[in-house]
């Protein structure tokens, strides 16, 4: 099992990748996931997070098998 991390829109261009897998982690928060896969780089302002396609706060605890997504404010419609 693993955690899938995804990036969208401008954030995908900033981090330079669209997705990655994080193996054998548990009980990390969304913030800690970001730190782990982005070498301690601070989260850009205004970034939103979703776990399993639901908006979450950054202290939300991620389980093995979850999909975590980071993206800028939405601009559809």
């Amino acid at each position: 099992m693993s955690i899938k991390v995804r990036y969208f829109a401008s954030l995908k261009e900033i981090v330079g990748r669209s997705e990655e897998e994080l193996d054998g982690q548990n009980a990390l928060t969304v913030s800690e996931i970001w730190q782990k896969v982005n070498a301690g780089k601070p989260l850009p302002d205004n970034v939103l997070a979703a776990v399993n396609m639901d908006y979450v706060e950054f202290d939300h605890s991620v389980k093995d098998g979850d999909e975590v997504a980071f993206f800028p404010p939405v601009t559809g419609g």
Binding site: A9, F71, P72, G76, G77
Partner: protein, 147 residues
């Protein structure tokens, strides 16, 4: 009904054909509220040639379903149609369509607007603009609808 459209769509044709197919509500709806968002050829003072609309497949549909369900709980609505374009879009093409059918006009107006506002703040779509001067940029945030 909720649809994510890869190709250009004609909003008036979509509303017309959906309404014709929804025979159960014929005679029951007294009000239809429709909003169409269309790509302009300008934004923030610059000429815009085209746009790419990125989205988060799966989460997009999930949030559009949620948004419509919320509106249907809150107002007396008979049916709704929500279409949103993704991919490469040119100026003057429709981006989004929200249509609401109800017995009375208050519900159609309020639900249509609430769905649009929720879509603008919650549905995971992102616009990248390609300007006439060759630059490209991500739109950074949606406005309150007046600026």
């Amino acid at each position: 009904m909720i649809k994510i459209c890869q190709d250009a769509f004609d909003p008036w044709h979509e509303v017309d054909s959906y309404q014709r197919s929804a025979v159960a509500m014929a005679g029951k709806y007294g009000a239809t509220g429709v909003f169409v968002g269309t790509m302009r050829d300008f934004n923030e003072g610059d000429d815009v040639d085209s746009m790419i609309l990125e989205h988060y497949p799966g989460m997009t549909e999930k949030y559009l379903e949620k948004i419509v369900a919320d509106a249907m709980r809150r107002w007396q609505v008979l049916d709704t149609l929500v279409l949103h374009r993704v991919g490469a879009i040119e100026s003057n093409q429709p981006i989004v369509l929200v249509a609401v059918w109800s017995a009375r006009r208050g519900d159609a107006f309020d639900a249509c607007r609430a769905i649009m506002e929720a879509l603008k703040t919650k549905a995971p779509f992102w616009k990248k603009e390609y300007l006439a001067d060759g630059r490209a940029r991500w739109v950074e945030s949606n406005s309150d609808g007046y600026i």
